[in-house]
């Protein structure tokens, strides 16, 4: 049903919607983040839920202490190699549909600590990340903006069809392999199912504009 027709019907008092949009509307407005702070960004995450920024206005104020009750994981801070298996395990314990926000430079790429011997260079090597929020730490506004972007993303997701969302696809894994702490490093260094080293750009060094 095209958008124009929907609008016309709406004027007549008939509201037409699809199961997708109701489902997405419900999910996007009641995201329960996990109460899971790793480092500095966690303080800004707490600040975002407090009086001034009030994340509750977006339906995401209930920080659940248990992964079993939450559907949004905000990776707020540096993921160390010692911590990475726990993060993946926590992600695996969350029920579908679940989303991940990588908050701050450390969670995206290791950030300022990426040269360290104990720092994972980005949590997207082990779990799929939906939104990346750069900043060190990102301001609470940036986190709210990221959550709004995630809501937009959820609104666009489909439940059926070839381009359906990850959680609606029975073949896609809901759980990801937990890396092991070996004698010197994490093994494997990344999960080849979801992450691969990006191709070297040889022709041009100027990167294209953001595709958001």
């Amino acid at each position: 049903m095209d958008h124009q027709l929907k609008k016309e019907l709406g004027k007549q008092g008939i509201h037409v919607t699809s199961l997708d949009s109701i489902y997405n509307w419900a999910r996007s407005n009641s995201m329960w983040p996990m109460q899971f702070g790793l480092a500095c960004c966690a303080i800004e995450m707490i600040a975002a839920t407090m009086a001034r920024y009030d994340l509750a206005r977006f339906g995401a104020e209930i920080f659940r202490p248990s992964p079993r009750q939450s559907d949004l994981m905000i990776v707020a801070g540096t993921v160390t190699k010692k911590m990475a298996p726990t993060v993946v395990r926590l992600y695996n314990q969350m029920p579908e549909p679940k989303y991940v926000i990588a908050m701050g430079a450390c969670a995206i790429s290791g950030g300022p600590f990426r040269d360290g011997y104990n720092v994972v260079k980005g949590i997207d090597r082990y779990i799929p990340v939906d939104i990346y929020i750069p900043g060190c730490p990102p301001r609470p506004e940036a986190l709210i903006d990221g959550i709004m972007k995630l809501q937009e993303k959820i609104h666009g997701q489909k439940l059926t069809g070839p381009d359906r969302a990850r959680h609606a696809d029975p073949d896609s894994p809901g759980e990801y392999a937990v890396p092991g702490t070996e004698s010197r490093d994490l093994l494997p260094r990344f999960n080849p199912c979801i992450w691969s080293p990006p191709a070297r750009q040889t022709d041009s060094l100027e990167y294209p504009e953001s595709k958001i």
Partner: protein, 266 residues
Amino acid sequence: MTQLYQQPRINGSIQPNQEPVTDTDMSLNGTTKYHHETEVSGIADPAPANRLSSGVPDAVPETRLSARPTAGEYGNTPERRPFRLPGSGIVQGMMVTARNWFGSYFDRKRLVTVQYPEQQIRPPENSRSIPFLVYDGDDPDAGLRCVACHTCEKECPPQAISIVGERDENGKPARRPKVFDIDISVCMGCQICAEVCPFDAIKMDHYLDHSSLENFQSLILGKTRLSKSNAYFHTINSTDATAVDARLEADRKKKEAARQKRAAAK
């Protein structure tokens, strides 16, 4: 074994201005303050080498201020303790929450929520998030102040900047960056680049929504996305921008004068 309800050892809050009697003046010579003989207070250890620096002289001032009021001072002994209803402390606390709740409807002081994104706090001038490159005039490429001196690249603590200088046909450096990339997924916004830049070419931007759905390409900002006009710099930090303009103008005049002098000498 459990014992019955234990009486709180402290009754009521400590009054802000009610201080224990043992309050003595803390400063060294009895007055509230004194000034150093020297102009600059020495940070370097004043004790000569090979000497244990004994921190405090013999006349150590009494510094006590008890967390628990001493017995008697606040009626803290059972005999002198005024009668308090069990649970009155909780009621007292609930009064505070009630005051906050009702206050949140009309008291400006308790109405602190910013309705982001409709309403945004204007960041203070000094506020910083990630760097940007300043250009003069209208042309973002020609007016760029950056001369590719690599100072910021060397000083950047997490090595988020990468610069490749432009070269002209003869292979000589053209004092212009060919590539100026900042990886904002690594940048920690410490503004050391802006601080060390000798040409005032790189400055700190205010907060921007940069969150993206993708890791690599949209979080590496190239020269085109980093370049912002001087007019923009004036809108976000007019104090600094005006100072920089004046400084650059003075520099230009000085150079001009030197050039004329040289020309006259010839």
